[in-house]
Symmetry: C3
Subunit: 156 residues, 3 copies
């Protein structure tokens, strides 16, 4: 049987601490078989955020790594609150928000940093869903990437 | 029994007129137990909009007040179309869209203006859901804040 | 009986090729009666994209035509994968993402290019849903418009 926790362990990556809300919102909401995740930023293992605008402060490769770190932060929220990544059946939709200069054109490449991680954790079929990956005028704390998501959970 | 209409009355705030669509869309759609609200702007009691970019035309406190006004506008859409705020069971998700200069970093603080209102109306548990609060390049009519939402309704 | 394919034919418009993903995502996901569409750009009949920022590279009318072309591209994804536009019962929600200069204020007018098309294809009641139409800092490949959508499908 497919084991997302095991797949994650094989990657040799560490999970940052699950972030507390920085405003009046919940990190996640469960609605029946759906799991909504609030916009997550790139929390690092020491709980600090990766900071910087792509194309001005950091380059595209650092941006893609930031998107992976956002993915790890989302996994941490799931693991911390549900105990296992296996509670998630599949990715339905993510919104990849990129903080970049207005001449930037490679948002999909950046957000692949998160999507490739999810594909490894939950597999190509279930870890990949619909997506928009687009450029925002600014993001909180000047983080390079923020991502929100809708997952389908396994029925209990 | 919890009464959102009564909680709202206690705040001593007035509801602006529910806005008519400014394009080819519906202000809301009901899908089973779900209520989707289109992006709402900060309509004032005289039906005019609050205008201005945060960090250039208006400051952060005016921005937060604008987000509260957006919340009031959303409440007006609900009240006008359903007769009562009690039709809403809880907030599942909101997207807080902030029109600000590109060096702005406090989007969550601004959108709290709406989230704190919803928490007072529907209570801390049901009035607060998932959220992204992020900076856009521009918004229609140069409004400072626009918010869209997904609510869960009480079953009839 | 209402026939969306027939309504589309009456418009005399051609469908561009359905776009392949440009990153790690699926063009669509079906979840029960829901159809999620990833962010789509304005693909033309020769498979090339319409390019340009509204207010700098192209004007508002070209922007609105681009939004219609995005709508045609979304129709192509539906028709190609399901064989018929009649699989869609109604539009629940679209997010209209506009790539424009930061002084642009008429995002709803631009996105009407897509919404008016959907209204013709599925009718005024079912083709029009909730919407946000807002300005982004940048979009992939510098396309002028990107749109993602949530549709309700007819039960099989």
């Amino acid at each position: 049987m497919y084991n997302a926790d095991h797949e994650f362990e094989k990657l040799g990556l560490s999970l940052p601490p699950a972030p507390a809300p920085k405003g009046v919102y919940k990190p996640y909401v469960i609605d029946g078989k759906y799991l909504y995740l609030s916009g997550h930023g790139p929390v690092q293992d020491d709980a600090s955020l990766i900071i910087g605008r792509i194309g001005r402060d950091i380059d595209i490769e650092a941006g893609k790594r930031s998107a992976q770190q956002v993915g790890l932060t989302m996994l941490s929220t799931i693991k911390t609150n549900f105990g296992s990544l296996n509670r998630v059946k599949r990715v339905i939709k993510i919104l990849g928000m990129v903080n970049c200069t207005d001449d930037f054109e490679q948002h999909p490449y950046v957000i692949n940093g998160c999507s490739e991680l999810f594909a490894k954790v939950w597999g190509e079929e279930n870890g990949i869903g619909t997506r928009s990956a687009v450029g925002f005028g600014s993001l909180p704390d000047n983080i390079p990437v923020e991502i929100e998501a809708l997952f389908e959970l396994h029925e209990d």
